[in-house]
């Protein structure tokens, strides 16, 4: 049937929301969408337009930019939304991606991009119902002890079930923990770099986006065919089987075997009894269901059930907790925790309070080593004695970090870089560029990738996978540098779409060109590649404005002391590789 006349064209609007005046307006920016398509391309340009020299991460004028892309809500597994902000954790480029329902809801609301500025005097939440925007008092849900409960309340009071996305913060964001996360639809997050902190500073408790409009489809038959092709590739070729089956936690055993799994604050790269926290064990004993982001047939979100007894009279509570590789590393191996139930409980505590789990894990690991070395007293830790594998102590520590009752815990809430500058132990504060590291210690590719990456994330360029290649078959350092450069550019393009990076091998340049063509957007492979380079330059421009300088970059000693997948790393080798990268990139 035809309802085409009622459908929106899409890829036109930017919605500006001002929290100070509780007002909003829409700007038409076909120029931006034409050139940059969507996602990170649009967000980077808008940030350059918005950013005024000297504005701090938590200043009201500092914007938060959400953007989806031309393929969002249109093709399978294009499920992500990018958030761009200035990170309160390291002052640098804040960039984070979340799945869930958000991309589809934004796309169908007709606002592919949303810019949020200003700050409210009292807690608010913002709703976007198709084209209508409202501001509502959120005082009654401020101070709720769990980010999950916030979702439950909003689901009750707001319409749009099944078509909406609820994006919210927990106590950590309200209290200004520098690595507070934003929870999206319970199991997904804008995790890294402290977007939750920025929400908190703006007194923005939540955003609800409900979109249920139709999008025009200029060549519907071509679109249907292309959808079918991509769908088949995703579910039938094995390209993504890994994410469906055990999920990313499959990597726990793999990396452990390869000596690449950071353990006990990266004092080691493999851990005894690893089978207990393997993806296999979680799947067999705890996995109860999988869920998907809206529009993705994979179902990579693994949900475990933890049955916990709370009295001798056989009384139980059950918790449903999603887990993946990074979480098991951060709260498992890196804290010496090999009891899977303890890992789940720690994840749950972080979820409720709303912090980035990787950062929290690294902060606690560093604090444990500090205490063991006698550099932090039990008094400073308010009676707490952290030791590897001690779940109860870590649960308490998470609570204390968020409540920040004294200077020490307040410092922990500012991240491991800050805390180690204050208390010492910088050599074993496992961060790069002020961001606590993800769960890889695979060698040169990894360290280089995290150093040069836009946001010091493994997702910028997958340096660890260059190491995997080098492990299988030795390759020159220059090849590793080249791999990282290619991967960065490719990912920049994918992040304009905004495809889930798990589907990166489905959305090849060729497939992207075709997918775009079928919805009336003409781009050649060369144009897309040029777009990747353009975005690189723009993002480095932004990074510079935010104060990033290679000259100030230092790499903690720990990375050179602990053996990695590809052997012990030499500082000199890393330095040379960074030089090579800078030369090739011209930065």
């Amino acid at each position: 049937m035809t309802t085409e006349q009622y459908a929106i064209p899409g890829l036109k609007n930017v919605l500006y929301i001002d929290l100070t005046s509780q007002s909003y307006h829409i700007e038409e920016r076909p120029d931006l969408y034409e050139k940059y398509l969507g996602g990170i391309g649009i967000a980077t340009n808008l940030m350059l337009e918005e950013y005024k020299e000297g504005t701090g991460p938590l200043d009201p004028e500092m914007p938060i930019i959400f953007s989806t892309g031309p393929l969002s809500g249109v093709y399978p597994t294009c499920t992500k939304t990018v958030a761009l902000f200035r990170s309160p954790l390291n002052g640098e480029l804040g960039e984070s991606y979340a799945g869930g329902h958000l991309a589809m809801s934004m796309r169908y609301s007709g606002y592919e991009t949303i810019v949020i500025k200003g700050s409210s005097r009292y807690p608010v939440y913002v709703t976007v119902h198709d084209d209508k925007v409202t501001f509502r008092d959120a005082s009654s849900i401020w101070n709720l002890s769990s980010a999950i409960d916030v979702g439950q309340v909003l689901r009750r009071v707001e319409p749009g079930a099944g078509r909406r996305s609820i994006v919210r913060i927990g106590p950590a964001g309200e209290k200004g923990i520098a690595y507070a996360s934003v929870n999206v639809d319970t199991y997904r997050h804008f995790g890294r770099l402290g977007l939750g902190t920025v929400f908190g500073a703006k007194k923005l408790k939540a955003i609800l986006v409900a979109g249920n409009r139709e999008i025009k489809s200029p060549d519907h038959n071509a679109y249907k065919k292309m959808y079918g092709k991509l769908y088949e590739t995703i579910v039938k070729t094995g390209l993504m089987e890994k994410y469906h089956n055990l999920g990313t936690s499959e990597n726990i055993l793999v990396l452990n075997e390869l000596k690449g799994l950071p353990t006990r604050n990266l004092q080691a790269t493999s851990i005894e009894s690893v089978e207990n926290i393997s993806g296999e064990n979680f799947a067999e004993k705890y996995l109860i269901r999988r869920v998907s982001c809206a529009g993705c047939p994979i179902g990579c979100v693994h949900v475990a059930m933890l049955k916990r007894s709370f009295s001798k009279a056989h009384e139980y509570e059950t918790l449903n907790i999603s887990y993946d590789f990074e979480l098991i590393y951060a709260l498992g191996s890196n804290l010496g925790v090999t009891d899977p139930e303890a890992v789940l409980e720690l994840i749950d505590a972080c979820e409720k309070t709303g912090v980035d789990i990787i950062s929290m894990g690294v902060v606690l690991a560093w604090a444990t080593e500090m205490q063991q070395r006698g550099k932090i007293s039990t008094e400073e830790a308010l009676g707490l004695k952290l030791s590897w594998g001690d779940k109860a102590a870590y649960l308490r520590a998470i609570e204390l970090v968020v409540k920040a009752p004294n200077e020490f815990y307040a410092a922990l809430g500012k991240g491991v870089d800050y805390a180690s500058k204050k208390y010492g132990g910088e050599e074993f504060a496992i961060q790069l560029g002020g961001l606590e590291i993800p769960g890889y210690h695979t060698g040169l590719g990894n360290i280089l990738g995290l150093t040069v990456g836009f946001r010091h994330s493994h997702l910028d360029n997958a340096g660890y996978s260059a190491d995997q290649k080098a492990f299988n078959q030795p390759i020159s350092d220059e090849k590793i540098v080249d791999y990282i450069i290619d991967e960065e550019d490719r990912r920049s393009v994918l992040n304009c779409m905004v495809a889930c990076l798990f589907a990166r091998n489905v959305y090849t340049y060729e497939n992207m060109v075709q997918a775009l063509k079928c919805i009336g957007i003409e781009k050649t492979e060369e144009e897309l590649k040029e777009l990747g380079k353009d975005i690189f330059r723009k993002k480095y421009e932004l990074k510079k404005k935010f104060g990033f300088r290679f000259e100030n970059f230092s790499i903690p000693k720990r990375f050179f002391e602990t053996i990695s997948t590809t052997g012990k790393l030499e500082e000199e080798r890393v330095r040379k590789a960074i030089e090579m990268y800078r030369e090739k990139r011209g930065v």
Binding site: M1, A7, Y108, R155, N212, R213, K224, V235, T237
Partner: protein, 172 residues
Amino acid sequence: MAKRLKVANPARCIGCYSCMMACARTWYDTISLKNSRINIQTRGGIETPYAAIVCHACVDPPCMRACPVGALTKRKGGGVNFNKEICKGCGNCIEACIVGAIHLDAENKAVICKHCGVCTKFCPHDVLEMIEVEDSGELKVTDTSPVEDTGPESPTASHKELYGKKEAEGEE
């Protein structure tokens, strides 16, 4: 031989919306969830199971009886055939269908399942199936052969062709 759609294994739903996208793009010339005749919903957020809301293929459809203009007529195999031209968008059928399987599109025409089976081809998790029924829509008793093994190791188990070859190899 008549067929109808059945939500065979609701508990296996992962909430991917592939079925909705498929239905909407097959029967409309736009891209949406809005025009899907099947509706995936959560009752209490993603923490709780998904429900697939779609026409149950009533043997004696109340929606048909509620339609004042006769736009809905009995379908072979249960449910209704819909005549879009004469539907006047009154919404009486919506009221009559307590399943909640009907809504109106942008042109105020009823959106109601045709039991075409397209969505089942896009469900990656064995939730949706087309089943054979009597012309009247009554369920057929077809299970007269020995009970099949449906455990994860059996050849008829879920995903036998999906998510790549790896799983299939593992079974050998």
